[in-house]
Symmetry: C2
Subunit: 176 residues, 2 copies
Protein backbone atom coordinates (compact mmCIF):
# COMPACT_ATOMS: atom_id res chain seq x y z
CA UNK A 1 0.00 0.00 0.00
CA UNK A 2 1.40 3.34 -1.11
CA UNK A 3 1.02 6.08 1.52
CA UNK A 4 1.70 9.72 0.83
CA UNK A 5 2.62 12.23 3.52
CA UNK A 6 3.08 15.97 3.14
CA UNK A 7 4.71 17.97 5.93
CA UNK A 8 4.43 21.72 5.53
CA UNK A 9 5.26 24.88 7.40
CA UNK A 10 7.91 27.57 7.57
CA UNK A 11 11.65 27.29 7.09
CA UNK A 12 13.36 26.81 10.46
CA UNK A 13 10.68 24.53 11.91
CA UNK A 14 12.62 21.39 11.06
CA UNK A 15 10.16 20.19 8.44
CA UNK A 16 12.91 18.63 6.32
CA UNK A 17 14.50 16.82 9.25
CA UNK A 18 11.07 15.46 10.20
CA UNK A 19 10.68 14.09 6.67
CA UNK A 20 14.13 12.53 6.76
CA UNK A 21 13.34 10.86 10.10
CA UNK A 22 10.04 9.54 8.78
CA UNK A 23 11.68 8.12 5.65
CA UNK A 24 14.51 6.57 7.63
CA UNK A 25 12.20 5.08 10.22
CA UNK A 26 9.93 3.48 7.66
CA UNK A 27 12.75 2.06 5.58
CA UNK A 28 15.58 1.22 7.92
CA UNK A 29 13.50 -0.02 10.82
CA UNK A 30 10.09 -0.93 9.44
CA UNK A 31 11.55 -2.59 6.36
CA UNK A 32 9.51 -0.64 3.84
CA UNK A 33 10.57 1.52 0.93
CA UNK A 34 10.50 5.27 1.30
CA UNK A 35 11.23 8.26 -0.86
CA UNK A 36 11.47 11.69 0.63
CA UNK A 37 11.39 14.81 -1.49
CA UNK A 38 11.91 18.51 -1.02
CA UNK A 39 10.77 20.85 -3.72
CA UNK A 40 12.19 24.31 -3.74
CA UNK A 41 10.43 26.79 -5.92
CA UNK A 42 9.15 30.33 -5.72
CA UNK A 43 7.24 29.56 -2.51
CA UNK A 44 10.43 28.46 -0.74
CA UNK A 45 11.82 31.90 -1.45
CA UNK A 46 8.89 33.25 0.56
CA UNK A 47 9.94 31.22 3.58
CA UNK A 48 7.68 28.20 3.11
CA UNK A 49 9.01 24.72 3.72
CA UNK A 50 7.60 21.44 2.50
CA UNK A 51 8.79 17.89 2.73
CA UNK A 52 7.05 14.93 1.17
CA UNK A 53 7.42 11.27 1.99
CA UNK A 54 6.07 8.29 0.10
CA UNK A 55 6.11 4.98 1.96
CA UNK A 56 5.32 1.66 0.36
CA UNK A 57 5.94 -2.02 0.65
CA UNK A 58 6.60 -2.05 -3.09
CA UNK A 59 9.27 -0.21 -5.02
CA UNK A 60 8.31 3.42 -5.47
CA UNK A 61 8.34 4.45 -9.11
CA UNK A 62 6.77 7.88 -8.73
CA UNK A 63 8.20 9.76 -5.75
CA UNK A 64 6.00 12.83 -5.72
CA UNK A 65 2.94 13.17 -3.53
CA UNK A 66 -0.15 13.33 -5.69
CA UNK A 67 -2.87 13.52 -3.04
CA UNK A 68 -1.65 13.03 0.51
CA UNK A 69 -3.05 10.44 2.88
CA UNK A 70 -1.57 12.54 5.66
CA UNK A 71 -1.13 16.30 5.69
CA UNK A 72 0.68 18.12 8.49
CA UNK A 73 0.53 21.92 8.62
CA UNK A 74 2.72 23.98 10.90
CA UNK A 75 1.82 27.36 9.41
CA UNK A 76 -1.34 29.12 8.30
CA UNK A 77 -0.17 29.65 4.70
CA UNK A 78 0.60 25.92 4.48
CA UNK A 79 -2.90 25.08 5.71
CA UNK A 80 -4.49 27.56 3.34
CA UNK A 81 -2.57 26.12 0.44
CA UNK A 82 -2.85 22.38 1.03
CA UNK A 83 -5.82 21.67 3.28
CA UNK A 84 -8.32 20.98 0.51
CA UNK A 85 -6.02 18.50 -1.12
CA UNK A 86 -6.16 15.41 1.09
CA UNK A 87 -7.39 11.93 0.31
CA UNK A 88 -10.83 10.91 1.51
CA UNK A 89 -10.55 9.55 5.03
CA UNK A 90 -7.06 10.93 5.20
CA UNK A 91 -5.59 12.84 8.12
CA UNK A 92 -5.04 16.56 8.54
CA UNK A 93 -2.88 17.35 11.56
CA UNK A 94 -2.22 20.98 12.41
CA UNK A 95 -0.43 23.00 15.03
CA UNK A 96 -3.34 24.14 17.17
CA UNK A 97 -1.95 27.53 18.11
CA UNK A 98 -0.52 28.45 14.75
CA UNK A 99 -3.47 27.58 12.57
CA UNK A 100 -7.01 28.87 12.52
CA UNK A 101 -9.34 26.50 10.75
CA UNK A 102 -12.10 28.47 9.02
CA UNK A 103 -15.65 27.69 10.20
CA UNK A 104 -16.66 26.57 6.75
CA UNK A 105 -13.69 24.21 6.33
CA UNK A 106 -14.91 20.82 5.36
CA UNK A 107 -13.38 17.90 3.60
CA UNK A 108 -13.62 14.19 4.04
CA UNK A 109 -10.58 13.80 6.20
CA UNK A 110 -10.04 13.50 9.93
CA UNK A 111 -8.74 16.71 11.46
CA UNK A 112 -6.50 16.80 14.54
CA UNK A 113 -5.31 19.92 16.33
CA UNK A 114 -2.22 19.46 18.47
CA UNK A 115 -0.21 22.28 20.06
CA UNK A 116 3.21 21.05 18.81
CA UNK A 117 4.99 24.31 19.36
CA UNK A 118 3.45 24.98 22.76
CA UNK A 119 4.31 21.48 24.00
CA UNK A 120 7.87 21.90 22.74
CA UNK A 121 8.23 25.24 24.44
CA UNK A 122 6.43 24.60 27.72
CA UNK A 123 7.14 20.94 28.36
CA UNK A 124 10.60 20.55 26.87
CA UNK A 125 11.75 24.15 27.04
CA UNK A 126 12.89 24.06 23.42
CA UNK A 127 10.64 25.47 20.72
CA UNK A 128 12.94 23.90 18.12
CA UNK A 129 11.75 20.35 18.92
CA UNK A 130 8.19 21.13 17.79
CA UNK A 131 8.92 19.02 14.70
CA UNK A 132 9.68 16.00 16.89
CA UNK A 133 6.56 16.56 19.01
CA UNK A 134 4.72 16.57 15.69
CA UNK A 135 6.25 13.22 14.72
CA UNK A 136 5.03 11.80 18.02
CA UNK A 137 1.47 12.92 17.37
CA UNK A 138 1.66 11.78 13.74
CA UNK A 139 2.86 8.32 14.74
CA UNK A 140 0.16 7.87 17.36
CA UNK A 141 -2.68 9.19 15.18
CA UNK A 142 -1.83 7.53 11.88
CA UNK A 143 0.24 4.51 12.79
CA UNK A 144 2.08 5.01 9.49
CA UNK A 145 5.33 3.84 11.07
CA UNK A 146 5.99 1.97 14.27
CA UNK A 147 6.89 3.89 17.41
CA UNK A 148 10.12 1.91 17.75
CA UNK A 149 11.18 2.65 14.18
CA UNK A 150 10.70 6.38 14.55
CA UNK A 151 12.49 6.46 17.87
CA UNK A 152 15.50 4.71 16.35
CA UNK A 153 15.45 7.07 13.37
CA UNK A 154 15.33 10.06 15.73
CA UNK A 155 18.39 8.77 17.57
CA UNK A 156 20.21 8.40 14.22
CA UNK A 157 19.28 11.83 12.99
CA UNK A 158 19.43 14.43 15.71
CA UNK A 159 22.65 16.13 16.83
CA UNK A 160 24.70 14.29 19.42
CA UNK A 161 23.84 15.38 22.95
CA UNK A 162 20.24 16.24 22.09
CA UNK A 163 18.93 12.67 21.89
CA UNK A 164 17.23 12.70 25.27
CA UNK A 165 15.33 15.94 24.74
CA UNK A 166 14.22 14.76 21.33
CA UNK A 167 12.94 11.42 22.57
CA UNK A 168 11.15 13.26 25.37
CA UNK A 169 9.58 15.57 22.77
CA UNK A 170 8.50 12.56 20.73
CA UNK A 171 6.89 10.95 23.78
CA UNK A 172 5.02 14.15 24.66
CA UNK A 173 3.58 14.33 21.18
CA UNK A 174 2.80 10.64 21.18
CA UNK A 175 0.93 10.70 24.45
CA UNK A 176 -0.83 14.06 24.03
CA UNK B 1 18.40 23.48 -18.70
CA UNK B 2 17.68 20.54 -16.43
CA UNK B 3 20.71 19.34 -14.46
CA UNK B 4 20.78 16.14 -12.46
CA UNK B 5 23.12 15.53 -9.54
CA UNK B 6 23.58 12.35 -7.56
CA UNK B 7 25.49 12.40 -4.27
CA UNK B 8 26.34 9.00 -2.88
CA UNK B 9 28.24 7.44 -0.03
CA UNK B 10 27.69 6.00 3.41
CA UNK B 11 25.23 7.02 6.10
CA UNK B 12 26.87 9.47 8.51
CA UNK B 13 28.85 11.33 5.84
CA UNK B 14 26.28 14.08 5.60
CA UNK B 15 25.18 13.21 2.07
CA UNK B 16 21.59 14.27 2.76
CA UNK B 17 22.58 17.60 4.27
CA UNK B 18 24.81 18.25 1.25
CA UNK B 19 21.83 17.64 -1.03
CA UNK B 20 19.63 19.93 1.04
CA UNK B 21 22.25 22.69 0.88
CA UNK B 22 22.63 22.29 -2.87
CA UNK B 23 18.86 22.47 -3.41
CA UNK B 24 18.49 25.45 -1.13
CA UNK B 25 21.39 27.30 -2.69
CA UNK B 26 20.13 26.83 -6.24
CA UNK B 27 16.57 27.81 -5.43
CA UNK B 28 16.71 30.39 -2.66
CA UNK B 29 19.81 32.22 -3.81
CA UNK B 30 20.28 31.41 -7.50
CA UNK B 31 16.59 31.76 -8.26
CA UNK B 32 16.19 28.38 -9.95
CA UNK B 33 13.89 25.51 -9.18
CA UNK B 34 15.24 22.50 -7.34
CA UNK B 35 13.92 19.17 -6.16
CA UNK B 36 15.92 17.05 -3.80
CA UNK B 37 15.14 13.42 -3.19
CA UNK B 38 16.24 10.67 -0.87
CA UNK B 39 15.33 7.13 -1.69
CA UNK B 40 15.47 4.60 1.05
CA UNK B 41 15.35 1.01 -0.01
CA UNK B 42 17.16 -2.21 0.71
CA UNK B 43 20.55 -0.58 0.01
CA UNK B 44 19.95 2.03 2.71
CA UNK B 45 19.59 -0.80 5.18
CA UNK B 46 23.13 -1.80 4.20
CA UNK B 47 24.42 1.62 5.23
CA UNK B 48 24.43 3.31 1.84
CA UNK B 49 23.24 6.88 1.51
CA UNK B 50 22.14 8.68 -1.63
CA UNK B 51 20.72 12.10 -2.24
CA UNK B 52 19.60 13.37 -5.62
CA UNK B 53 19.06 16.95 -6.72
CA UNK B 54 17.47 18.19 -9.92
CA UNK B 55 18.04 21.85 -10.73
CA UNK B 56 16.28 23.68 -13.51
CA UNK B 57 15.19 27.09 -14.66
CA UNK B 58 11.84 25.52 -15.54
CA UNK B 59 9.35 23.81 -13.26
CA UNK B 60 10.50 20.28 -12.50
CA UNK B 61 7.87 17.73 -13.35
CA UNK B 62 9.92 14.58 -12.87
CA UNK B 63 12.03 14.78 -9.73
CA UNK B 64 14.10 11.62 -10.04
CA UNK B 65 17.57 11.53 -11.49
CA UNK B 66 17.54 9.55 -14.72
CA UNK B 67 21.17 9.88 -15.80
CA UNK B 68 23.23 12.28 -13.72
CA UNK B 69 25.17 15.20 -15.15
CA UNK B 70 27.16 15.14 -11.94
CA UNK B 71 27.97 12.12 -9.80
CA UNK B 72 29.73 12.38 -6.45
CA UNK B 73 30.93 9.21 -4.74
CA UNK B 74 32.15 9.14 -1.17
CA UNK B 75 32.37 5.36 -0.87
CA UNK B 76 33.65 2.49 -2.98
CA UNK B 77 30.29 0.68 -3.15
CA UNK B 78 28.71 3.93 -4.38
CA UNK B 79 31.33 4.25 -7.10
CA UNK B 80 30.97 0.62 -8.10
CA UNK B 81 27.21 1.01 -8.32
CA UNK B 82 26.84 4.34 -10.08
CA UNK B 83 30.04 5.17 -11.95
CA UNK B 84 28.97 3.77 -15.31
CA UNK B 85 25.77 5.73 -15.25
CA UNK B 86 26.76 9.32 -15.99
CA UNK B 87 25.82 11.56 -18.89
CA UNK B 88 28.37 12.05 -21.66
CA UNK B 89 30.66 14.92 -20.76
CA UNK B 90 29.30 14.79 -17.24
CA UNK B 91 31.36 14.94 -14.08
CA UNK B 92 32.41 12.16 -11.73
CA UNK B 93 33.89 13.50 -8.50
CA UNK B 94 35.20 11.03 -5.95
CA UNK B 95 36.88 11.04 -2.58
CA UNK B 96 40.46 10.31 -3.58
CA UNK B 97 41.38 8.28 -0.52
CA UNK B 98 38.18 6.30 -0.20
CA UNK B 99 37.79 5.21 -3.80
CA UNK B 100 40.00 3.15 -6.03
CA UNK B 101 39.20 3.67 -9.67
CA UNK B 102 39.84 0.45 -11.61
CA UNK B 103 42.46 0.70 -14.36
CA UNK B 104 39.97 -0.24 -17.00
CA UNK B 105 37.39 2.35 -15.89
CA UNK B 106 36.34 4.42 -18.81
CA UNK B 107 33.33 6.46 -19.64
CA UNK B 108 32.80 9.72 -21.41
CA UNK B 109 32.77 11.88 -18.32
CA UNK B 110 35.40 14.03 -16.64
CA UNK B 111 36.76 12.39 -13.52
CA UNK B 112 38.05 14.37 -10.52
CA UNK B 113 39.69 12.91 -7.43
CA UNK B 114 39.61 15.15 -4.37
CA UNK B 115 40.58 14.07 -0.84
CA UNK B 116 37.43 15.44 0.84
CA UNK B 117 37.80 13.46 4.01
CA UNK B 118 41.53 14.06 4.36
CA UNK B 119 41.10 17.82 3.86
CA UNK B 120 38.29 17.85 6.42
CA UNK B 121 40.35 15.94 8.94
CA UNK B 122 43.78 17.53 8.43
CA UNK B 123 42.91 21.10 7.52
CA UNK B 124 39.76 21.67 9.55
CA UNK B 125 40.25 19.03 12.20
CA UNK B 126 36.72 17.72 11.71
CA UNK B 127 36.14 14.67 9.56
CA UNK B 128 32.42 15.39 9.69
CA UNK B 129 32.73 18.42 7.38
CA UNK B 130 33.96 16.27 4.46
CA UNK B 131 30.53 16.78 2.90
CA UNK B 132 31.05 20.55 2.91
CA UNK B 133 34.57 20.22 1.48
CA UNK B 134 32.91 18.16 -1.23
CA UNK B 135 30.39 20.94 -1.93
CA UNK B 136 33.29 23.35 -2.33
CA UNK B 137 34.98 21.13 -4.91
CA UNK B 138 31.67 20.43 -6.66
CA UNK B 139 30.90 24.15 -6.95
CA UNK B 140 34.32 25.01 -8.33
CA UNK B 141 34.45 22.11 -10.80
CA UNK B 142 30.91 22.17 -12.15
CA UNK B 143 29.70 25.71 -11.56
CA UNK B 144 26.21 24.23 -11.09
CA UNK B 145 25.42 26.86 -8.45
CA UNK B 146 27.11 30.11 -7.59
CA UNK B 147 29.66 30.22 -4.79
CA UNK B 148 27.68 32.93 -3.03
CA UNK B 149 24.44 30.90 -3.18
CA UNK B 150 26.00 27.81 -1.66
CA UNK B 151 27.71 29.79 1.05
CA UNK B 152 24.41 31.38 2.06
CA UNK B 153 22.71 27.99 2.02
CA UNK B 154 25.46 26.55 4.22
CA UNK B 155 24.94 29.32 6.75
CA UNK B 156 21.19 28.57 6.74
CA UNK B 157 21.64 24.84 7.17
CA UNK B 158 24.44 23.98 9.54
CA UNK B 159 24.08 23.95 13.34
CA UNK B 160 24.55 27.29 15.08
CA UNK B 161 28.11 27.79 16.23
CA UNK B 162 29.60 25.68 13.42
CA UNK B 163 29.18 28.23 10.64
CA UNK B 164 32.79 29.34 10.55
CA UNK B 165 34.26 25.84 10.37
CA UNK B 166 31.82 24.92 7.64
CA UNK B 167 32.59 27.97 5.50
CA UNK B 168 36.28 27.24 6.00
CA UNK B 169 35.68 23.66 4.86
CA UNK B 170 33.81 24.93 1.81
CA UNK B 171 36.67 27.27 0.90
CA UNK B 172 39.24 24.49 1.25
CA UNK B 173 37.28 22.31 -1.13
CA UNK B 174 36.70 25.20 -3.50
CA UNK B 175 40.35 26.17 -3.73
CA UNK B 176 41.86 22.65 -3.73
Amino acid sequence: MRKEIRLSGFGGQGIILAGVILGRGASLYDNKNAVQTQSYGPEARGGASKSEVVISEEEISFPKVIKPDILVCMSQPAFDKYSMDVKENGYVIVDKDLITIPDDYKNNSKVYRVPFTEIAQKEIGLKIVANIVMLGALTKITNIVSKEAIEKAILDSVPKGTEEKNIEAFEKGYSY
